[in-house]
């Protein structure tokens, strides 16, 4: 369970961003989370609430957008969705997918600010 560490890193980063912009009243944080990131969505949601207590983000919402695992098929020369996270091959031609295009993201995309 390293979701608490992830939540704390996230809060530190947003706090910095907020200070840089002269103090933001953050209502929601939008996060892109790859299903191949090693971070569990529900555990992060839970950890976020805990970690926010006493910070400038207390009371804010965490909105998680799940990013699918996409691999590049060198034979089809196309991005493909593999059959599962434990079978990294092209669903069309069966070639192994050695390059991951998306799915590993842990990335704050934008903040919703009270206007």
């Amino acid at each position: 369970m390293h979701e608490l560490s992830i939540a704390i890193s996230m809060i530190d980063q947003i706090t910095e961003e907020s200070e840089r912009r002269g103090g933001l009243d953050v209502e929601a944080v939008h996060l892109k989370l790859g299903i191949f990131s090693g971070v569990d969505k529900d555990a992060l949601q839970f950890a976020y609430e805990l970690a926010c207590e006493g910070s400038v983000l207390e009371g804010s919402r965490l909105v998680i957008e799940t990013v699918p695992l996409v691999i590049y098929c060198a034979d089809c020369k196309k991005d493909r969705l593999p059959p599962s996270v434990y079978q990294l091959s092209c669903p069309e031609c069966g070639s192994p997918g050695q390059k991951i295009v998306t799915g590993r993201e842990i990335e704050v995309s934008f903040l919703e600010i009270a206007a």
């Binding site: 369970m1 992830i6 890193s9 090693g38 050695q98 990335e107 903040l111 919703e112 206007a115």
Partner: protein, 228 residues
């Protein structure tokens, strides 16, 4: 009440990634070959590392950092092979991060170390998110754990460079299907190099030594290129 959107686009682990990159550059400049070890608890990381350190110490300068939640037991074990061992006790944290590695390296002369091993906390989930600046990451799977571990923990296998199947001396007793294990590794990390070893008997270790020596030679070559 109305809201406005502010675009951020920031990687949450940016701080760790930046520090890991700095460490990687430092390792390259000093010519140190750095290898990370990850696995579940009890898969034989420390026994494997003991063998690695013992074998490599004959003609190379070796060092190790070992991560655990508590105790100095692993460091004490590894010091039989080399005095250059430091334990990182993480307390409640289930993984190592780049900052812990940087701190643990304090005052070590990396230019006098050929091989540095970083043994992560036994955990097949959390370490996959944290880059430590290593050149190679070994993921260990023991013959007693079962063939389907790679399928259950695809992220850590995919984020590693080399798979080591340990405790091969117990494979028969545990009815371990090595062909299936290799197939499962290939499924989650196509093209991954796999080694079968026994730290107890020493079987298969030579191939790992050869890989490490080749890696060191490459590191030294690129260092020459850097200084030119």
């Amino acid at each position: 009440m109305s809201t406005r959107m502010v675009e951020v686009r920031a990687k949450v682990l940016k701080q760790n990634d930046l520090l890991a990159r700095t460490l990687r550059e430092r390792f390259r400049t000093e010519g140190t070959c750095v290898v990370g070890l990850v696995s579940s608890p009890g898969s034989g990381k420390t026994a494997f590392l003991e063998k690695l350190l013992g074998g490599l110490a004959r003609d190379s300068r070796v060092a190790a950092l070992v991560g655990d939640l508590a105790t100095e037991n692993d460091a004490a074990r590894l010091r039989r092979a080399t005095p250059n061992v430091r334990q990182i006790t993480t307390g409640t944290i289930c993984h190592l991060d780049a900052q812990m590695v940087e701190k643990a390296l304090e005052s070590w002369r990396l230019d006098r170390i050929d091989f540095l091993f970083i043994e992560n906390v036994g955990n097949l989930v959390c370490p996959s998110s944290y880059d430590l600046g290593e050149e190679l990451r070994f993921v260990l799977l023991s013959a007693t754990e079962g063939e389907d571990k790679p399928l259950k923990y695809p992220t850590i296998f995919n984020s590693s460079d080399v798979a080591i199947i340990t405790k091969m001396d117990l494979a028969e007793a545990a009815e371990f299907d090595v062909v299936a294990a290799r197939r499962n590794i290939e499924s989650v990390r196509p093209g991954m190099q796999v080694f079968e070893v026994s730290s107890k008997t020493g079987s298969g270790m030579q191939a790992v030594f050869d890989l490490l020596h080749a890696q060191l030679a490459r590191a030294r070559q690129s260092r020459v290129a850097l200084t030119l």
